[in-house]
Symmetry: C2
Subunit: 417 residues, 2 copies
């Protein structure tokens, strides 16, 4: 048994490091990121050996083929992870940049500038690439980090994080800035979620169960990410070809991710022609279709959609269809069942486009484009730390600025009140 | 016994109203605020009658004179509350304003715009003016509101909120937008803190006990406000007169509020002259002084500062003094004991000013000015919903924009990924 630090000691070390890390220059941070990327590539074999242990354990535990695939690394994938760190170098450093600056009538000069949050806690499930992504984004934004990964990838995550921590330290990043919690004891997560004095934010990345556990148990502020029950609404004036292309793309291009659509709402005025048209297309793409009674009346050879379907994120080639009477009914359905992630209307009607964008409550509201674009890279933000589905602090794809807060600097010459 | 709605029903009503309220125009919101202000003045006597009940109960409960004074309303104070609502009319409406706008290479146009948070929950203690302030700021920013006030002011808060709700409704604000929880059952607060599906943020305004209870029990995101253990550090190069004026102002102008200083750190190089100088001034202003052993060696006729003093917010004419060896020691002391509210260095040394502003972790870091300026009005933001002492979402004085989030609107012509 190794002699490992307690979660509290690790968080305290990160907290101590964060005060120094917040003042490190962009040049130093970039240099460290490049050396961290090199370290992963140079010692690629060590990572692959640890990854083999996780894969062997995973097969014993009968993990699904897709989970094993997400877990599996090879030389090319490690190069991709290293390149991800190099891409972070090219992103602008938000730290120290001005948000606003003004002079008060009494002569006080007030500046609001961006500063790091301090210590970022991330609790995540299987994917090893998250380890490097999150460490890279935190270092670039001057934040210390406490990571807790899932048991499936524990050996891989451990070697990646310790390699990155060592390379960062050698490159001048304060010792203790990168903390990986090694114990698989579940109590470690419960402990971590109460360390409000050391950790400034918790970002859970994983399934609904993990996210809800974190929300219910954390006294540290949480940024909720990832749950996506997204909708497409086909308005009566929609261009049918365009609607078909968008729906097939938004449902089938990567069905397991959060920005795919789960429910398709169709205006009754075009249902008679559109429903058979889209069902043909979806079936040709191997999508299982569930329908409300009105949809089934038009196409009986599909499954029944039940109440639970409207709030289900399938993570799979499954979609539920519903016919609605009006645009307002579509908006009400969406605001009732959505996770406030991404929503799209397909329409040629200007007023309806505008009303949909105003009234639908979601991070990203589209007109005539696939919801699959809700993504840090697609928005042009570079790497992302996650997609926020809550309203506080950050909403939608979170780039580096989501890992910052601000501070007012006030300069005077003796002003009193 | 009245037939009152459950907390859940009230929060649901606010949630339903919030969808309509989010699209109300600035003109309509301003008209409502003016009518709400008039309602308070026109029916002033009704408020005073209810206020008398609270005051009578308060005297029976032996509330302190200062608590009774904060609770007490008269015609002039009601006029001030009404004028507060009128001032909110003159603040710019943040809703709908653009944050950024860009075109992606694939032709997608992406706009980030400000939208209301949705439903704001406020849990507060005695002061009745908070009721009107908070309702006014929420209505102006398009948010529905669920209020839970303290028992001391229950009759006053109930009449003010019901008058404002009635006037708002008459002026076209959606029914249900303003919810005041009338029951004094403590379970109501516990219930409120779990209504994540309806309430977007909880802002506690009150003492440490209330704030900690909310943080520990809420599954809704919380904005922490108000705790203030603030410091002044007198550098070796400080202008002594200026330091004296700032310290006296920051300690004595309103000792009960959060932006006063609680601890004074003095560089040892000037301690011999500065300590007697400032102790004279503080004693002349009736301030009780506690000192570290080095301070006591210079001026024995003061109390001992013990470990607990360094993290105590006195809310009173009390200050603790400590001599530090270096600027770095001062910064370390501050970052160890502060509540990340407001901190000041008094110095004539450019480098030291810069280092202090960079390294001290607080919402507002001053050079040569009183910490008492950390306030929405003093910063020029107009009325404030509170002063955030956390790092997520909002930091420092929170004006109307702290009550907003953003939404991406994406316009395309059939883009798929």
């Amino acid at each position: 048994m190794e002699n490992i630090l307690s979660v509290k000691e690790q968080a305290h070390a990160a907290y101590t490091a964060s005060h120094q890390l917040s003042t490190i220059s962009t040049e130093e941070k970039n240099k460290a990121l490049l050396e961290m990327a090199d370290a992963l590539e140079h010692r690629c074999n060590l990572i692959l050996a640890e990854n083999q242990i996780d894969l062997t354990n995973g097969r014993k535990k009968n993990l699904t083929a897709s989970t094993l695939d997400r877990l599996m690394l090879n030389e090319e994938r490690i190069k991709q992870i290293a390149d991800g760190l190099r891409q972070i170098v090219s992103l602008p450093d938000p730290i120290g940049s001005g948000i606003s600056e003004f002079r008060r009538p009494n002569g006080l000069d007030i500046r609001a500038i961006r500063v790091p949050l301090g210590v970022v806690g991330v609790i995540y499930e299987a994917r090893p690439n998250v380890t490097a992504d999150v460490i890279g984004l935190c270092i670039k934004s001057g934040n210390a980090i406490v990571l807790r990964g899932g048991s499936e990838a524990i050996h891989t995550n451990k070697i990646i994080s310790s390699m990155l921590a060592a390379a960062a330290y050698t490159a001048g990043i304060p010792a203790g800035s990168i903390q990986f919690i090694e114990t698989q004891d579940r109590q470690a997560v419960a402990d971590m979620l109460k360390l409000r004095q050391y950790i400034d934010v918790i970002i859970p990345r994983g399934g609904k169960g993990l996210i809800n556990y974190v929300i219910e148990n954390s006294t540290i502020p949480v940024i909720e990410t990832g749950a996506g029950v997204c909708h497409a609404y086909v308005d009566s004036s929609a261009n049918m070809e365009m609607a078909g292309n968008i729906i097939i793309n938004a449902k089938t291009s990567r069905p397991a991710v959060c920005n795919t659509i789960e429910t398709l709402l169709i205006n009754k005025a075009i249902a008679e022609t559109f429903v058979p048209f889209i069902i043909d297309k979806l079936q040709a793409a191997n999508v299982t279709i569930k329908g409300c009674p009105q949809v089934k009346a038009l196409c009986p050879n599909i499954e029944d959609a039940v109440e639970a379907d409207w709030s289900t994120e399938y993570h799979d080639l499954v979609i539920s269809l519903k016919i609605v009477d009006t645009l307002d009914d579509a908006i009400t359905h969406i605001n009732t069942y959505n996770t406030k992630h991404s929503e799209v209307i397909i329409t040629e009607n200007y007023q309806n486009a505008r009303i949909f964008q105003q009234k639908v409550d979601a991070a990203a509201v589209y007109v005539n484009a696939s919801t699959r674009f809700t993504d840090g890279f697609e928005f042009g933000f570079g790497a992302e730390i996650g997609i926020s589905t809550q309203k506080l602090h950050a909403r939608g794809p979170m780039g580096l600025t989501a890992l910052t807060t601000m501070k007012y600097l006030i300069d005077g010459n003796g002003q009193i009140r």
